[in-house]
Symmetry: C2
Subunit: 579 residues, 2 copies
Amino acid sequence: MPQRVVIIGAVALGPKAAARYKRLDPDAEVTLLDRGRDISYGGCGIPFYVSGDVSDASELQTTAFHMLRDAEFFRKTKGVNVRTQTEALAIDRANKTVRVRHLPTGREEDLPYDKLVLATGSRANRLSAPGAELPGVLAVDGMQAAREIRAQVSGGGVSHAVVVGAGFIGLEMAVALTDLWGVETTVVEFRDQVLPGVIGPNLARMVQRDLEQHGVRFLLGQAVQTFEADEKGHLAAVATPSGRLEAELAIVAVGVTPNDELARAAGLTVGRRGGIVVDAQLRTSDPDIFAGGDCVVLPHALTGAQTYLPLGSLANRQGRVIGTNLASDANPAKGRDPAATPPVVGAWCVKLFDRAAAGAGLTLASAKAVGFDAVCVHMGQVDRAHFHPDKGFMSLELIVERGAGRILGMQGVAANGDTLVGKVDVVAALLPSSPTVETLAGLELAYSPPFSAALDILNVLGGAAQNILEGRVRGVQVDEFAALWAERDKTGAPLFLDCRETADASPFMTKYPDDWRNIPQGELADRLAELPRDRELVLVCNTGARSYEAFITLAHAGFTNVVSVEGGMTAIVAAGLGI
Amino acid sequence: MPQRVVIIGAVALGPKAAARYKRLDPDAEVTLLDRGRDISYGGCGIPFYVSGDVSDASELQTTAFHMLRDAEFFRKTKGVNVRTQTEALAIDRANKTVRVRHLPTGREEDLPYDKLVLATGSRANRLSAPGAELPGVLAVDGMQAAREIRAQVSGGGVSHAVVVGAGFIGLEMAVALTDLWGVETTVVEFRDQVLPGVIGPNLARMVQRDLEQHGVRFLLGQAVQTFEADEKGHLAAVATPSGRLEAELAIVAVGVTPNDELARAAGLTVGRRGGIVVDAQLRTSDPDIFAGGDCVVLPHALTGAQTYLPLGSLANRQGRVIGTNLASDANPAKGRDPAATPPVVGAWCVKLFDRAAAGAGLTLASAKAVGFDAVCVHMGQVDRAHFHPDKGFMSLELIVERGAGRILGMQGVAANGDTLVGKVDVVAALLPSSPTVETLAGLELAYSPPFSAALDILNVLGGAAQNILEGRVRGVQVDEFAALWAERDKTGAPLFLDCRETADASPFMTKYPDDWRNIPQGELADRLAELPRDRELVLVCNTGARSYEAFITLAHAGFTNVVSVEGGMTAIVAAGLGI
């Protein structure tokens, strides 16, 4: 008898699991249901539909060969039955049925299953501030909301917008509103930096500055107090502790919550903070029920902790694993090893205006929070041969465990997103096998001047981390530099030693004669006598390479109170620190 | 007493080893010598200087902060003594001295060393054809040759050129001559494909077609017979078996030979086919002599065989390892683990006109040659979300060991070189740890629509390889398709079944009514009766995705004599196969 499979949820994981399974077991009876009208759409593409990069919403719902992935498509090309506008109400695990309701008619029925797949996804978090339900206050929550947002901005009725939340979607929406539509946009973020939790504060400042340079404003460390209506009851303004922001549109992008209620009610194991618990085969605590995508938690490759990562890429990969395991269950005689999903590392990327940001693994803060003795190494360099005209600047931060030298994560901001994503993907791919800084320093990567540097930026970063872990240099980063700089009028303030050629250093020497000194790195060994031995020295150059060399020279000459600014003036300027 | 180190060769590895070592051991006495005038230049940048991408030769010899890396630079900023135009004549290992000659004066002396580094590099191979020494016949062999080539083409005296050799440098030079200077260029290659040894024949055809579309001509499987002179004794033409090619310039790019003679004469172990043998610490058979870069052979990560890979990127990374180990030798009390260089995987990339090519590890032919039961899986897909306007097409070939499913290599051709290099780098980084197709199918990579697809092309490729290894589909590639297509007028010829929508298929049905049939994949299950069961079926769609689905449907219905064309019409067209 063919195996009967019911899949609840038809956005990303559900359709993928259904299609994969039917290819392996063409006789199976697969029913894919969703409470919405739209199925199998690229939700991560919504900001690019709003921005106009994607001209028509249907493009998010078509295949690469321009066929609409609707119910009929799945029936004809995949042999899968699809029921839209059909909500799953309850799972009866004893009788192996799912109670469903057809929303337009209200008709209910029980669908029998041999195997069940929960692909229920997540829902956008809402704010509790008064007025959060006003027309004009929208979350990026499915195709319907996307069409509404685009209709509002393209209709010309929006000249000011507020985006609440500076995570991936918040930033992408701020870029979309500003770039094509010229909407004056303010991002309000409760935490004190953009991309909280996924990137360190110095890179976050670079991200923020990229958006600010294109007119986006930021209110960090602030929460929305009220959404205010005009006389017609539509959103007119957003009140914050810093004042009232005029806004015809507010986009709330403050994270998502897993839709785990159905699983919870059926007695399946759910994580402490929500999310269905699954094993590597993506089975729930009931072996006949699989789950994956935005409704599950998975162990993290570095911390081992159950981690919630609602990412469309994970959902697609997990769909294939579930499809494979459904087939193994149907035909155990084939003796195939079950497919497994690896622990997650949390790889991500986001396009800004003139830059992109990306990362994988832990940030310094998240590494410390789980008890790692971690250090962050900052490095800036062009992304290909420095003599090639296509070069763009890339800043990377490597998070490393002291002692073992194990790499815990890497984040970056760069002019060229493709090269940055390439570097992050390399680290993401290696992270599960516990690479060290030595691995990174010696990694063999493809080189040709139009695409990379002979000593790849990842090799240089690994080497720089080795130098720091082995105590050969003491680095400070932009925020620590800023703190030292703020001290400069006090007694015992450090002396800033510019290691660049004099032409680069002289404007600063003129402006800060007491604090800024210049000895080009090539002259340092011969001019040590000019330097005070009783004052802290802060070494600065363009990117940190020459100040590192200078540090070595000074350490060898017995100077002990010296630090070198990692990333140098380039990092200081990119972070928007005007000195 | 400070350790005395002599380094022979000052292009890539030598300067890197010297600088690294001096940072670790500032008291050391380091002498860097080279028989040329130019030191520390980016040799891989020469084609881009010839093309005009790099406007001045000095840019290949400056740091990222525009300082000329000459002898004075190394003395001042690195504390390294440099002697140019100084040739090493012999090594006296017993007395630990190197006999050197200052070329302008002829003066000879013995330099004592505690440790010696051989960074003697390689030299371009010459042809034995008559006339190979004529003016106008040049190899890409150092800065002087680069200046000569650029002077000739920028002087306007070159309207036709011949490039001998279709390897990396040959192709880069053909692009450079054609692109900026409009020189009519013919590439003559002895083997029957471009990029022989590093890419498979189907991808090679795509590479060749990219250059042909910009006017470059190819003579494959042919050797130069004679270089012919004009009445002034300058090159005028190149004779080949296919006829005489007018040419004022011939560039010979037929590989390089390691400069291992000094090592050989000193009794150090040298590989069977040349190249100094070193261990992972880059020590030769004499523990006081290190070697690295273009003059050594290294074990391959996949075959274990001593492999010669003259790549600037390897030289730079190895320079750092030697620098570290020189410091360990000077100060063993510090008890540092010696630095090690990992086995090589042979990662490479090359920019063409509208495409780039890249790869790592073994090709199908090289895998079979060393005894692997290997298979090649071809896949084509856009390099980011298919709805994003920046997308470009990428073709990848994965080389996989049957049974174990171990990945042996990957090569690709793509419109966007940065994304291609990113994918190849991921595989290059994983190769030493024996990844399988399952690893690749489940790999977590960064996703956002402007940069990648939700199911990354590497995931799709890994999955496709799993399907082939598990026997779920039988694929043929473009060359096999071409062979089947050539049979179509004979008895028992296969029927070509186009699985695309009818609008795409109908031109072919009109042209080849007996051989080309169309059933859109979504209608196939209902129209099986239309197909003959006694004739081989060759399934074709745009990229291979729908023909894979059709294969499954046909296999389930009992059709046994079926193959699916991997990469589909896109691969067929990209390979220049007009049907």
